[in-house]
């Protein structure tokens, strides 16, 4: 719990933040990081702006028939509510510390709000929608693999904290991508490391500077370069 704050270092949003426990100022549990809110600006930069919580954030991420069916059930159970599909939102400014859990700087009572209208010139996105997107390289050639994580880095301009997406991790979607072996953050037991690292030997990193456009409807990332090898934490940020 007393590990250094992850948010102030470069990190992988899925590996280090998604699905973590949210803990309020008084040590009470306040849900899981069910999804993350990304804000897309006019200049196409993507910032990580909030934690999203609740079934409307979690269930779409389950994917497949199970996710669709559960989401339908969730709607039916509150069919009169217009905001039934709206996930709850916890602003990133409420986050005090990111370690093995997410500690907030306020009590959990009346913590979660709905997203509301985005600031002019920005569009609200969800990390869960970016994950699994297909990638097209130069001349529209399809890259083997899909987006499995977003690498972010933080800055502190005049007091506030912002966390901006820097690159996408692209992988062929084999099992075990959340275990940390492919990002070299875990390397033992040696046998397990060998097997999972080998499964993920094609995993690469696509700099967002090389991304021309993210087509959120067709779920395609258009880039001018192929993904390169994954960079170590010290070379990022």
């Amino acid at each position: 719990m007393d590990r250094p704050d992850r948010l102030s270092r470069p990190m992988d949003a899925v590996l280090h933040l998604l699905d973590r426990q949210i803990i309020d100022r008084d040590g009470l549990f306040a849900g899981k990081v069910d999804d993350l809110e990304l804000t897309e600006y006019d200049d196409r930069t993507l910032r990580l702006t909030a934690l999203l919580v609740g079934p409307p954030a979690l269930l779409p991420r389950l994917g497949g028939r199970l996710g669709g069916w559960l989401l339908d059930m969730w709607r039916e159970l509150g069919v009169t509510r217009a905001d039934r599909d709206a996930p709850g939102r916890i602003d990133l400014a409420d986050v005090e510390h990111l370690g093995s859990g997410v500690t907030l700087n306020r009590p959990r009572a009346a913590l979660v709000r709905t997203q509301g209208e985005p600031v002019a010139g920005t569009v609200r996105r969800r990390l869960g929608d970016l994950l699994g997107m297909e990638v097209r390289g130069p001349a529209g050639v399809r890259v083997r693999g899909r987006v499995i994580d977003v690498r972010v880095a933080s800055g502190r301009p005049r007091g506030g904290r912002y966390v901006v997406a820097r690159s996408l991790v692209v992988s062929r979607g084999r099992p075990g991508s959340l275990l940390g072996y492919d990002r070299a953050s875990v390397s033992r037991p040696v046998v397990v490391d060998r097997v999972i690292s080998w499964l993920h030997r094609h995993t690469g990193e696509l700099d967002l500077a090389d991304v021309v456009r993210i087509d959120w409807e067709a779920r395609v990332v258009h880039a001018t370069a192929e993904p390169g090898p994954l960079r170590a934490e010290d070379d990022r940020g």
């Binding site: 719990m1 590990r3 992850r6 280090h16 699905d19 973590r20 426990q21 949210i22 009470l28 549990f29 306040a30 849900g31 899981k32 069910d34 919580v53 979690l58 991420r61 389950l62 994917g63 497949g64 199970l66 996710g67 370690g99 093995s100 859990g101 959340l178 275990l179 940390g180 953050s185 875990v186 390397s187 033992r188 037991p189 040696v190 046998v191 397990v192």
Partner: protein, 409 residues
């Protein structure tokens, strides 16, 4: 001085809390049919639960994260949910077996039908889960469970040929009349009884309940590496008693009373009285642990407030799960299903489900992001990988053996 008392208390409750209905029934069944020839499996299983519990206890102490936090974080929400469903099905089955076990033990002394006692037992378990504080609950039931030491005394009083028992244990000498498949089936069952998944859910969540930090790692290890093996020795004593008294008489164990029979032969009425107290305490303690295990795991997956370190009204969804699962367990037992059969199924399905939670914990125990300097050392990883192989193998073998042997007939 206070610290030594605390360590001693922890070890004693670990011993008393180790044995549950699965250990009682499976060890007596195996002892009565195979003598001590499967004792090596108990040793293997006990070392396995030590390795597994030490890793998850360390993760809980250093990072504050319990088992199903890690399952969701490391496997993702989809695979994590399927994992939760499978693990909870097995833990719920064990919960049913434990409540049934308490009722069977009370039936022994009251001669009231077990089915009539079930609602009363289920209600009492729920009241304790709702009202009792964590440490007094764990300590009282763990200490009362020490009454099962009567099996070790009985074994000694029966005056066995220790050399012959040891020889059976060391050589894994299968009785000539038994098929290899049946022998293998009971090996899997015995392993599942020794290394039940709920023990680890409960142990790691209990670490968070008692607010362990890295400073408590020494106490935690003492509990695990002294308490669990001594608890395992009680399991072996139960098997040994059955091997000495029931096997020569050709008795096959299908009732709880038969488990206590060797104690009656060795120590008479007083011995039986102590054994029944042990049965009630061990199964009641395990009923509380499995009941909490169900609530802990579901709450951890969804991020709800869980645990008895907060007032019940601050963890309402968690307590709702405890209430509903207690009601459901009573409901299952009211169909008059035989708790012994439920127990037999629960230990085999435990073996089947073990790798689901074992693997993520092995990975996180190596992740410096969670554990800093407290990641696995070489020995922990050597044993960790060894048990990963053993668990995967037994998990794959469990269902085929269940079907082939028709539950060990």
């Amino acid at each position: 001085m206070k610290r030594y008392l605390q360590v001693a208390l922890g070890i004693l409750t670990a011993i008393g809390g180790f044995v549950d209905i699965g250990d009682l029934v499976t060890n007596a069944q195996v002892g009565a049919r195979f003598g001590m020839s499967l004792g090596g499996v108990v040793v293997l299983g006990v070392l396995g639960i030590c390795v597994y519990a030490e890793m998850s206890g360390r993760v809980a102490a250093v990072s504050g994260r319990a088992t199903f936090d890690l399952v969701r974080e490391r496997l993702g929400p989809r695979v994590g949910l399927l994992n939760l469903a499978a693990s909870m099905a097995v833990t719920f089955l064990t919960f049913v077996a434990e409540i049934g076990g308490v009722a069977l033990a009370l039936e022994l002394v009251s001669s009231v039908s077990e089915v009539l006692l079930v609602p009363f037992v289920g209600g009492l378990v729920w009241v304790i889960l709702w009202r009792a504080k964590f440490s007094p609950m764990e300590n009282t039931l763990g200490l009362a469970g020490l009454a099962l030491v009567v099996f070790a005394v009985a074994l000694w009083q029966l005056g066995p040929d220790w050399g012959a028992l040891g020889h059976q244990l060391a050589t894994a000498d299968k009785p000539a009349g038994e098929a290899w498949t049946t022998y293998a089936y009971y090996a899997v069952a015995l392993f599942g009884a020794a290394m039940t998944p709920y023990e680890v859910f409960f142990f790691s969540s209990g670490g968070v309940e008692e607010r362990w930090t890295a400073k408590d790692l020494g106490v935690m290890r003492a509990n695990v590496f002294i308490g669990f093996p001594l608890g395992g020795a009680l399991s072996l004593a139960i098997a040994g008693c059955a091997a000495l008294v029931l096997q020569p008489a050709g008795v096959t164990v299908d009732a709880l009373g038969q488990v206590g029979l060797p104690v009656a032969v060795a120590l008479g009425k007083v011995g039986v009285a102590v054994a029944v107290i042990g049965f009630v305490a061990a199964t009641f303690g395990a009923a509380c642990e499995t009941g909490l295990g169900v609530g802990y795991s579901i709450a951890q997956y969804f991020g709800w407030q869980w645990g008895k370190f907060v007032k019940a009204d601050r963890a309402a969804p968690f307590h709702a799960v405890l209430l509903l699962s207690s009601l459901a367990a009573v409901g299952v037992l009211l169909t008059s299903v035989d708790p012994i059969v439920v127990t037999e199924l629960s230990v085999v399905f435990s073996a089947l489900a073990l790798p689901l939670t074992y693997f993520p914990i092995l990975v996180v125990a190596n992740d410096p992001d969670y554990l800093g300097e407290h990641t696995n050392d070489r020995l922990a990883n050597l044993l960790g990988v060894f048990y990963l192989v053993v668990l995967s193998f037994l998990s794959a073998a469990a269902l085929p053996l269940l079907v082939i042997t028709k539950m060990g007939q």
